[in-house]
Symmetry: C2
Subunit: 326 residues, 2 copies
């Protein structure tokens, strides 16, 4: 990353299953322009690529943009073939088997293009501009439907053999535990992934008749009305002091702390940055993680453990993708 | 490592709780001279250092050794301060809190000295001269009283923040599992570490009256006579077709495969090299690991998994330590 006197500009694209977010970012972490378009993934790969083109076009044409753009960085779901710039089998983009995204974008925009897995892009964003600044090693975890993570070792993303490193959601904490979508038992995703967490809370709430979570459409969000309960409802209830909701989040933190403890003893990496859905719930989740991970690492690591909230929120993806050119 | 035409020689020392093994090694992996002295750890750090000096002296004086020695590499138990060349709190060397081993050795021998954790040294040995050749990433696991491991990423030992990386024995496979010496529950060490494995087998053998393991001092080894049962007895019985002994080893492999599955999903590292005590038992253990790890990784990793026996046996430590100067 260059000094303030020599600021660079690049485009960061965060390709999600629902929205495409794109931004012109500066190498000091400032987001210069940002916009969001629907992915419309059901219309197939060619349409999604056209949507990305359209997002970039709007960014650049908004008014004359004079500074040179050093490249386009993309955070995409699924597995990435870094050499060839391919996006392979993203789980939430139907019809994408093997898309030559780097080639498509570089041809159209005559710019260098670099693609990174979305969890890794978010970790890079935190590494450059967020909670990971000044830390050589950390793991950035995003809690959502799945649990993704990006592993930063010696300041760089660690990809592993074929780019699948960071599948922290599939660390098992109990070989006899509940079955995960992946086929394995006891994966941490099967305890704290959004849908599992909500299913468990729905199952248990009748034993807690006083809980706000028994009121239909609590929080009056659209999602709550549609789906009985959302992660946001649980957070909101906990913030209002609801004991059951607080317990659900604390327990999720405890489970997560067990998986993070396994990662810590293996790698002697003791900084974990937590973002995504239930991370916004704050204290109960973080208290649970902190208590549990300290019980689940070897003694010389205990005092060094730090569990930090992600700082960049929804912007981690575009900033991290853009940082591929800083 | 230099080419055949430019062979280097260095000294590798493997400092164990019972024996000190030292060797002059050549950069093509040939062990030129080797000897072993008792550590006599109960006589305190100064005596142990004197024993290391004595081992090196005997190596060098055996006959005139003409080729220049490039340095002394040491594999030591405990945590290593690499910058200062300190050995910190090795669990099986009583009285060692902080020993300036590098300084002591370099002063006496006027050679460069490099110290590495013993599990890491064994991993380096396998990386240079054993099962890890031509593999960028792997984890080398040594099964003994404890379960140690050395993690090779991009061809180098990964140390983590403070040198504790590789504590794979404390990956938990069941947060409600048996209590480990470290205080955590369900650590893989508490399933397959020698003493736990033997305790379980002793506990269960009466339900298997036909098993050879019910015969006192089976295998007629000293250890068997002294302690009722040794890991070697279990291996030996399995080799003779004993069903119960075979089951004990297969099950140990299954447990280990669960922990290795957790490491694999986190790092996308799919090569594991297994050495130490029960690894010598061969097929039943490896069959158990292979079956279990494939059930415990995500699908895209499954076909790439390889579980390899360590090739260098007891020489991995001295060769890996010596390789710090190749």
């Amino acid at each position: 990353m260059k000094s303030k006197n020599n600021l660079l500009y690049s485009i960061g694209v965060d390709l999600g299953g629902t929205n495409i977010k794109a931004a012109i970012c500066r190498s000091d972490g400032k987001i210069f322009r940002v916009l969001s378009l629907p992915t419309e993934a059901d219309r197939g790969p060619a349409h999604v690529v056209a949507q990305i083109h359209s997002a970039i076009e709007r960014l650049l044409s908004k008014k004359n943009f004079l500074a040179p753009i050093t490249g386009i960085g993309v955070g995409a779901p699924g597995s990435i073939d870094h050499e060839k710039g391919l996006v392979l089998h993203p789980p939430n983009l139907p019809g994408w088997k093997k898309v030559k995204l780097a080639q498509e974008l570089s041809k159209r925009w005559n710019l260098r293009v670099n693609i990174e897995n979305d969890a890794n892009a978010a970790a890079l964003g935190e590494a450059y501009f967020g909670s990971g600044k000044n830390r050589a090693h950390f793991i950035a975890i995003t809690i959502g439907t799945g649990i993704g993570s990006g592993i930063i070792l010696d300041g760089n993303i660690f990809h592993g053999e074929k780019g699948f490193a960071g599948e922290l959601g599939h660390i098992s904490i109990d070989y006899n535990g509940p079955k995960c979508n992946c086929g394995k038992r006891g994966c941490i995703e099967a305890y704290v992934g959004n849908s599992y967490l909500i299913a468990k809370a729905l199952d248990e709430r009748s034993s807690h008749p006083d809980s706000l979570l028994n009121r239909k459409a609590f929080g009056k969000t659209q999602r709550a009305a549609n789906r009985e309960m959302s992660v946001r409802d649980i957070s909101l209830a906990a913030k209002r002091g609801d004991v059951f909701a607080t317990h659900v989040l604390y327990r999720a933190g405890e489970y997560l702390g067990m998986a993070l403890g396994n990662a810590a003893v293996l790698l002697d990496v003791t900084t974990f940055i937590i973002g995504g859905g239930i991370a916004a719930a704050g204290k109960p989740l973080f208290d649970g993680i902190n208590a549990s991970i300290r019980r689940n690492v070897i003694k010389p690591m205990r005092a060094r453990i730090e569990i930090l909230p992600a700082q960049l929120g929804n912007n981690a993806g575009v900033l991290g993708a853009a940082s591929l050119f800083f």
